[in-house]
């Protein structure tokens, strides 16, 4: 793609990315919302994180890996336990990475 086309692409991407990020916070931040909506918003983080997480653990190269050698999935269990016990972002990341590195070292 030509340089100018690329530039247009990047600028276009920036715009369509920023607007959905900006507008809700911008328009809603002073508002008192109906109780159902505030409850709904409170569950959004858990819902979004879970919705992001499961496919990311199962999808490899565009396809689902539901077999026993899905390292990401196996490593998730101790990582989740570590998160539950220590409530530490960094600790969980370390545990997860270390497990994956170790497993690969051992030939996974």
């Amino acid at each position: 793609m030509a340089e100018t086309d690329l530039l247009i692409t990047v600028l276009g991407m920036a715009l369509v990315t920023y607007l959905p990020r900006l507008l809700p916070a911008w328009l809603l931040r002073g508002r008192a919302l109906p109780p159902f909506i505030t409850a709904w918003l409170r569950y959004i983080p858990a819902a979004v994180l879970a919705a992001l997480l499961l496919p990311s653990l199962l999808v490899e190269g565009g396809r689902l890996n539901l077999t026993w050698d899905n390292l990401y999935l196996w490593a998730a269990l101790p990582a989740a336990l570590a998160a539950w016990k220590w409530k530490s972002l960094f600790g969980t990341v370390l545990v997860g990475m270390a497990l994956v590195a170790l497993a690969r070292l051992l030939g996974w």
């Binding site: 247009i8 918003l41 998730a76 990582a79 409530k87 997860g96």
Partner: protein, 237 residues
């Protein structure tokens, strides 16, 4: 709520306050690196690659975009695809909005510019704990953004040398971070059910072929179910 618990300023304190950014930095460096390498391979010049990481700051969308550039798609297709991929940030922005009531408009504008899956996860945790000061939030975002750009730069410089991040398990930094953030969101039974529903629905929708919509659809429905259950519980108690 004041978060300054120590009275003695020290070198470690400012760094300690940036600690929430660390897992994101660990994740963004290798993925930014991957993006930089792929962008160079797809023929994107240094300027546009860096500009994308600077102005778009969206890992999945950028990686998809590089793929589409390599395939020769038009700018319009790529922009439209990016819009769909990043639409879920609409929900994230809405869900953080209650915590920004005291913020100045410029702070809201600056903060949301750097709202990604990862910064959302970090801040939804912090904000709920009462750590809602705008300046620190902006600083944390900036550090994450810099890590993303730095990773991109390194990847571009590395060019053809696709170094393997796998032996260090670095590719697991982001999934591990999401796991931690998710676990810390589970504050009760309803949250657990919402998470399970969202995960299941997301997978279902993805498998049905709606690979750009699965997160939004799953999150909207699962959170609604949670809110509905909670409201129903309140009304019957």
């Amino acid at each position: 709520m004041p978060q300054d618990k120590t009275l003695l300023p020290s070198l470690s304190k400012p760094l300690a306050r940036l600690a929430p950014a660390l897992p994101v930095v660990l994740g963004y460096l290798p993925i930014g690196f991957a993006f930089g390498v792929l962008a160079a391979a797809a023929g994107m010049g240094a300027f546009n690659s860096l500009l994308m990481s600077l102005l778009v700051f969206a890992g999945s969308a950028q990686l998809v975009a590089v793929e589409l550039v390599a395939q020769g798609l038009t700018p319009w297709s790529i922009v439209a695809t990016t819009f769909i991929i990043n639409l879920r940030h609409l929900l994230m922005s809405a869900s953080l909005s209650p915590y920004m009531q005291e913020w100045r408009p410029a702070q809201v504008a600056g903060f949301t510019f750097e709202l990604t899956d990862e910064t959302f996860g970090v801040h939804s945790l912090r904000f709920e704990r009462g750590e809602t000061r705008a300046k620190l939030a902006l600083l944390i975002n900036l550090v994450c953004h810099l890590a993303w750009v730095a990773g991109t730069l390194l990847g571009m410089l590395a060019g053809g040398l696709i170094r393997d991040v796998r032996p260090l398990g670095l590719d697991y930094a982001l999934p591990a971070m999401f796991i931690a953030l998710l676990v810390m969101q589970i504050r009760g039974r309803v949250y657990l059910v919402v998470a399970l529903m969202a995960a299941g629905l997301s997978l279902l929708v993805w498998s049905a072929g709606f690979t750009q919509w699965n997160v939004i659809i799953a999150a909207v429905l699962a959170a609604a179910a949670g809110a509905g259950a909670e409201r129903w519980q309140k009304q019957t108690s």
